[in-house]
Structures are given as C-alpha cells and as structure tokens.
C-alpha cells in the first residue's frame, strides 16, 4: 500500500509540471500586460516599460518560465503584482477559508446524499424514490447564484436567522489560532462565541455550495445500492436473517459506494470551482474570490500559483480516492 501511494505521488510531479507549462503559455497569450495594469491610472509609457523590466517581463518566455520554476522549487511563488505580498502568504491566509467552506459543503453533500441515495434505492419506484429523483435533477439544474440569493432573502433578510455574508461578524476579531481555520481556532482558544458566529456564517455558503454535489452523491449512491441489492450475497444475507438496518447500511452500502467515492473525488474539484461563485456572492475571503480578482487584473503569479494549488489538490484527492477504494474493497488491496 505504501509503495502504491509513493508511486502515485511520484507520478503527480510530471503532471503538475505539464500543467504549469500550459498555464504559463495560456497566461502569456492573454493580451493583458500586467505591467500596464500595474502601472495604474495616469502612467506614462516610460513608467510601464520600467515596470516591465523590473518584473522581468521583458525577458524571453522560456527564461521567465525557468526563473519561475526555480522559484517554485524553493517554494517561492513570487509576489502578487497587486497586493505586493508573496503569493504564498496570500494563499496561506485564504486557503483555510476555502477548505473550511468546501469541507462543510462536502460534509453536507455526503452526509445527506448517501442516506438519501440509500433511501431512494430501498424504496425503488415508490414515492420517496420519485421525490428524490425530482429533487436531485433540480439540484443539478439550479444555478448556485440563484439559490444563494433565495437563501439570502429568506434566511438573512426575511427571517433574520443567519448572516447575509462574510465569515465572521464585523465586530468580532478572528481568533489568533495556529491553524487559520476559523472554526478550529476558535475552539482551540476556547472562544465558543466565535465558534457559533463562524458556524452561522458558514451555513448558507456551505448549503449553496453543497447542492450540486448533494444531487450527484444521491444519484450515484442510489444507483450503486440498487445494483448491489440485486447481488446474490444480499439474498444470502437476508436468508441468513441479518438485521434489516445493518444489512442495508453496512453490508449493502459498503459494496455500493465505489462509484460514490469516485464521485466524491471528482466533486472536490468541482467544489473548488464552485467556490469561485459562492465565495463571491457571500464575500467569503477564500481562494475563489482571490482567483477572480487575479484574473480580472491579469495577476499572473497568482493565477499560476492557484493553478498549481488546484492541480495539487486534485492529485492528492485522486490518491486519497484510490486509497479509499482500496480500504473499502479488499480485492483491490490484494491486487495493488
């Protein structure tokens, strides 16, 4: 197993390099000249030229790329041209917010989607199944921003139960915690008021973000369970008098989640993409809104670093997915 993981990790490096090269070329193809944007309003052409030189933007592209790679090897991802801060610092500050959001969304998607999928399958072609099928089609079809606005109108404006936006109430100071994860840090420093406030801010964005995944997870779990229910061993287990709940939720489910686990892996990438929209609507200070800003201002170092990060997350999630598959199914373990 360890060897298997190691092999996968080593395979990741060339893919990331390829990703970087493609991204580097793409960014250079966009006409926006970061030096111009950087020089700001009222800049003279001479000023722009000076900036271009000072950022090495006048060098041939392969030189620029090698320079960049050299930096990356030292874990130096360059400076954001706009915040004038190291990109790594910006990302480190914002990544926890995005991870907190995506994890919460994933938790909702999986925590709700798996049971609902089982429920639909067990009640195949009866009303719970029909209802869930309609709902899961709707879940895929509804646009996140539309749902977000509906949720904001209802829960933040009409009922006033939940905050409209942001990660923490303006009057509160984030905990000085070690991890950067708001929920975790507020617990670590024993500030339950901060924890409750942060949690309440998390609800609407996480629900919005989770919807698409919820539908997918429900559908795949339902299909998986339906498939498993046809299996001989399920008949054998019923004939052996297994307790009905344990039969479904343990013995059938574990055989049915292979496809669901794959989906969860894919979903994680989707969630990060979805975070771009959701973070913008809810003013969530994460990677998503950072990326939007970077694209609008042609901040190439940020775009590259974010690409690398997303690629890395994808790769890690992929490996984790394979590990999860192997943990679930002993036959894969013996093969590996």
């Amino acid at each position: 197993m360890a060897g298997f993981v190691l092999r996968r990790v080593l395979l990741v490096l060339p893919s990331l390099l390829g990703l970087l090269i493609v991204c580097f070329l793409l960014i250079r193809m966009v006409p926006a000249d970061p030096a111009v944007a950087l020089a700001g309003d009222n800049a003279t052409p001479a000023q722009i030229e000076a900036i271009r030189r000072s950022y090495g933007l006048d060098q041939p592209i392969h030189v620029q790329f090698l320079r960049y790679l050299e930096g990356v090897a030292r874990l130096d991802f360059g400076q954001s041209q706009f915040s004038s801060r190291p990109v790594a610092e910006d990302i480190a500050q914002r990544l926890p917010a995005t991870l907190e959001l995506t994890m919460a969304a994933l938790l909702i998607s999986v925590g709700l989607g798996v049971p609902l999928g089982v429920l639909a399958a067990v009640n195949h072609n009866r009303w719970p199944d029909f209802v869930l099928r309609v709902v899961s089609v709707a879940g895929v079809a509804i646009a996140a921003f539309w749902l977000a606005i509906m949720l904001q109108m209802l829960f933040a404006m009409q009922l006033g139960w939940l905050p409209l936006r942001g990660q923490l109430s303006a009057g509160l100071t984030p905990p000085p915690g070690p991890t950067g994860f708001l929920l975790l840090d507020s617990l670590l420093v024993g500030r339950f008021d901060l924890f409750a406030d942060a949690l309440r801010h998390l609800v609407l964005p996480a629900v919005t973000l989770s919807l698409g995944g919820l539908a997918t997870i429900t559908r795949f779990t339902r299909a998986g369970v339906l498939d498993t229910l046809q299996k001989d061993f399920v008949f054998y287990e019923r004939a052996s008098g297994y307790a009905p709940r344990r039969l479904v939720w343990i013995y059938v489910l574990r055989n049915s989640v292979a496809a669901t686990v794959t989906q969860i892996g894919l979903l994680f990438g989707g969630l990060i993409a979805g975070a771009v929209v959701v973070e913008s609507i809810y003013d969530w200070p994460g990677i998503g809104s950072y990326t939007v800003q970077a694209i609008l201002t042609a901040d190439s170092k940020v775009m590259l670093a974010v690409t690398l990060l997303v690629g890395l997350i994808y790769a890690v999630v992929n490996i984790l997915t394979d590990v999860a598959h192997a943990l679930i199914d002993p036959r894969l373990r013996d093969r590996a």
Binding site: D33, S84, A156, G160, G171, A196, D283, V292, L296
Partner: protein, 527 residues
C-alpha cells in the same frame, strides 16, 4: 430532564438560530464599509478610488480637497508661496503634528514621501515625474518644504494632495533590498491620519480594520460622536452590499450604486442614498487614428446617434447630468458656449451620407469593448447598438476587462475601435480631463486612447500647463476644449451623480468629488 442525543442536537440548533436577532444589529461605535479596499495599502504604489477611501483616513497630505465643488485647503501645510515664474514653491507645515506611533511629522517626512513617490515610479508619480527631480525637494527647516520644478507646471498645486505623507523613519526601518519599504507598507501603515490601520486585520481585498486616532492634528472637538472603529468588508456583488445595508449589517456602500437600487434603499427606514454631483465623466472613446473613425463626418454621425437623454432618464433613472464635452460641467475651463452633440438620427444619417461621400465604408462592422464587471458599459453599448442598427451601422459588442483594454491602448493598432470608461478625479484640474485625454504627448496611455492629434490643441494645452494662474490658464483650456469638441474626438455622455448607500446611524456625510466622500472623520455615529 434526560437529554437524549436527539434533544441535544435540537437544542444546539435552536441556540444557533436564536442567537441571530443580533445578526443584523450594529455594534456600538463600529462602522462597516462594503466599498472595496485598495489592492495594497501603500499610498505611493496605488492611486485610485479605493486607495483614496483608505488613504484619506489613514494618511494626511499637505493640502486636501474639501466640499463640492472641491476647494483646495491647507491641511498639513498652513499655506504656500510660489515664485513669479512658477518654478519655486514653499510650503509651511503645522507644528505639533504626530504620526500614529507618536513621533513628530516634520519636513523631512514630507521630503522623503515625495522622493519615495518618484523613486517607486508608480501611479501617483505620473503627475510629478516630468517636472520634479528628487533632489529638488528640500527641507531647509523642520517646518518648511521647498520644491524647485524643472519647468512651470500649472497643475502642480492641484496634484499636491495626491502624495500622502508617510513616517520616514518607520518606513526606512522596514526597507528590504532597496525596495523603499514597498513590501512592508503594502500591508502596514505609517501615517498620521484621523484613523489608523489595526495591525493583523488585513486580508487583501477582503477585510481591513481601522480605529480612530485620538491624537489627530485636526482634533475631534468638532465631532461629538465620531466613528470609533471601522471594519472594511468588501462586497463583491452590489446586491449583497445593498441587502446588508437594509438588514443593518453594512453601514456604507460604494458610491456607484446601480440606479435601480436607489428607490429601494430610500424607502427603507434604516438607510438612505447620498446623491452628489461629482467630477467623473462617462465617455465612449473612438479610435481617431483608424478608419472609419479617422473621418470627422463619421464621428459626428456616431455622436448624433447616441440617445443621451434616453440613457440618462431611462437607464440611469435621471441620476446623472448630461455632460456634452470632455470636461466635467462644474469645473473651471469649460467653454460655456460649446453646445456639443444631441441625439438626432436625422443628423446622424446626413453625416453618414457625407462620410460615405468622403469614401468611408460605413458598412464595415465596428467593435465596442465593454468592461465585463461594469454593467453600465454594457447597457450603453446595447442602447447604442440598436440606434446604430437603425441607421445602418453594424456595431458589435466585445466583452473585455480593464486590464486587457488598458494593455491594448498601448498602440493605435491594438486600441479598440471604441470602448467605454469613466474619467474620475485624480486631481481637480482641467489637466486631469482635456489635458491628459487629448494632448498627443500622452498617446499610449489609456486616457489618451482616442489617438486624437491636433497640433493647435497640443500647443494650447502645452501653454496652459506652463502657466500657474488659473485666470490665465482657463481661456486656454476653454479654447482647447472647443477645438476637441468641434473635432468630435469622442462621445461625451454624462457627469456622474455619485450614489452611496449610507446607514441612518451615520450623519454628517461630507461629499467631495476627490475621494467621493470617503473621508470618515466628519461622520457622526449614533449607537
């Protein structure tokens, strides 16, 4: 009572839901702003509207614009004197001004600040680079600063407020590898302003905290209930900002509210819209260097085909003032006799025919670039498109970004046929509008992206730039503006009415076109 697991879960949920009543409620002394914050916090690297919204509060300048129309008032300086030839300028400083760290603000800090602006060579430098050498800023004594310009420069005084005075010792202490402390000041603050940045509260572009500076030189006796703390929380979607205003979680939006939100806010009891005529013009640019826009008749046809009143009345709900020339109406240097162009498709057709007679191919499709983030540029383009269609001109709308467009304006070949933008007040002087937009020496900058070239206009603007007295400069700018309008260089649409949503907790709002009313020290906060 035995607390089962299920009960416990329900109870937790209930507390989560019950807590909120406070959700929208405001924190005493705290004001929440949803207008954007600058890309970084260094006022010498960036000079734009969000930076003014930050730096007008955390930093001070020698002079400051106040009121509407703006008046230049002594701020850190008590006054100034200039030589007859306009080359030598001397500013006297107020005594006893201190920075946030308690150290005194002296002439040495002023000299350092101007030299730093020139050395960094970023946006705020452009007004001074052509006329000021770093060595020519001097401090003969702690309360005197002298400038010697390379040549007379009329807008010099108008540009003085651009430079924020930073704490020289503090910044120098944080220099790294000759960067003039650029990396450090990008996320720290070294000012003397009425508010200070609270360290550790910055997430770039998202949030930032400020608190009142008790020791500000202006004193606080004129304000019985100033804002104690300021939380900047950028709202990316205007609609979110407006919702926040209505539920009390935001006290202050940006000053570019979509006009359709105005009524909704006005009808609420918790907030209002501050409406103030500004100095910010809306322009549809034409690339005069390229066919068919190199033909005067064609340009006039275009100018007559835009439905100015329809756009202002229907789309902007009347919240804008028709501004027929390049200069904002309230400013000096505007020729009162120049009528500009009106919406008249009949005239447009005639000019089109005339253009055709000149050999212009009026059928060739033309492209207008809009800014994807700014819906109004799209609305204007759509309106224009339908009118042009009715006179047989094929306008295509290209969605673009500011960064792309500005890059493309580097040369006439790559500049768009047409594009739409605003010209805000960077300094209150005709130079900010007609000067930098139509003097061909600025070709290659986005402001001069119509590639207009008229030697007579260049000469007029050059002369105006070299004079110091407003009375002498004004007629030159008026004449230059007249010529540019006669040449129909661009399509000038309106002067902005700035619309800012403000909570009723706040009173004492003071609007000034430079900075858009974001100087918070005048505000009074109840509750």
């Amino acid at each position: 009572m035995e607390l089962t697991r299920r009960n416990y879960a329900a109870l937790t949920l209930a507390t989560l839901i019950a807590a909120p009543a406070r959700a929208g409620a405001a924190t005493p002394g705290l004001m929440v702003r949803s207008d954007g914050q600058p890309q970084n916090l260094d006022p010498h690297q960036i000079f734009d509207v969000p930076m003014m919204g930050y730096a007008l509060n955390t930093y001070d300048g020698l002079y400051r614009y106040q009121n509407n129309p703006p008046v230049l008032e002594p701020w850190l300086a008590t006054g100034h004197a200039s030589s007859e030839d306009g080359l030598d300028w001397e500013f006297k400083l107020r005594p006893g001004v201190t920075f946030h760290d308690g150290s005194p603000l002296t002439a040495a800090d002023v000299v350092y600040s101007f030299q730093r602006v020139l050395a960094l060579n970023k946006a705020p430098a452009s007004a001074f680079l052509p006329i000021l050498k770093p060595g020519n800023v001097t401090a003969p004594d702690p309360l005197t600063v002298r400038f010697r310009l390379d040549r007379p420069y009329g807008p010099f005084l108008a540009a003085i407020p651009i430079v924020a005075i930073v704490n020289a010792k503090l910044v120098q202490a944080n220099e790294k590898g000759g960067d003039h402390g650029a990396a450090w000041l990008a996320s720290n603050e070294a000012g003397s302003g009425a508010y200070s940045f609270v360290p550790g509260t910055l997430t770039p572009n998202e949030r930032l905290g400020m608190q009142r500076f008790e020791g500000h030189f202006w004193g606080w006796s004129d304000n019985p209930s100033p804002v104690a703390r300021v939380a900047m929380r950028t709202a990316r979607e205007t609609s979110t900002g407006v919702l926040g205003l209505m539920n009390g979680s935001i006290d202050w939006t940006d000053s570019y509210l979509p006009t359709d939100q105005v009524e909704q806010i006005q009808s609420s009891r918790v907030a209002r819209v501050e409406r103030h005529s500004s100095l910010r013009t809306f322009v549809i640019r034409m690339n005069n260097a390229r066919a068919p826009f190199n033909n005067l008749n064609f340009r006039k046809a275009m100018a007559h085909a835009f439905n100015y009143d329809g756009f202002i009345k229907e789309i902007l709900k009347g919240y804008a003032d028709r501004n027929a020339g390049p200069m904002p109406n309230p400013l000096w240097g505007v020729p009162k006799d120049a009528a500009g162009y009106d919406y008249d498709l009949g005239k447009a057709r005639n000019f089109l025919r005339a253009a055709q007679a000149d050999g212009v191919n009026i059928r060739q499709p033309i492209r207008i670039h809009i800014q994807s983030q700014l819906e109004q540029t799209n609305q204007a383009a759509q309106l224009f498109q339908s009118d042009l269609q009715s006179i047989g001109v094929n306008l295509r709308i290209v969605t673009d970004t500011w960064a792309n467009i500005v890059t493309s304006t580097g040369s006439a070949e790559t500049s768009p046929d047409m594009w739409i933008h605003w010209v805000s007040t960077y300094f209150v002087d005709p130079e900010n509008w007609v000067g930098q937009m139509y003097d061909s020496q600025f070709h290659g900058t986005w402001k001069a992206s119509s590639w207009y070239k008229n030697p007579e206009v260049d000469a007029l603007l050059g002369r105006a730039r070299g004079l110091v007295k407003q009375a002498e400069r004004a007629p030159l700018y008026e004449e230059a503006t007249r010529r540019v309008m006669a040449d129909c260089a661009d399509i000038w649409v309106y002067n902005t009415v700035e619309l800012r949503g403000v909570s009723n907790r706040l009173s004492g709002y003071r609007f000034c076109p430079a900075g858009g009313g974001s100087e918070l020290r005048w505000l009074q906060l109840k509750g």
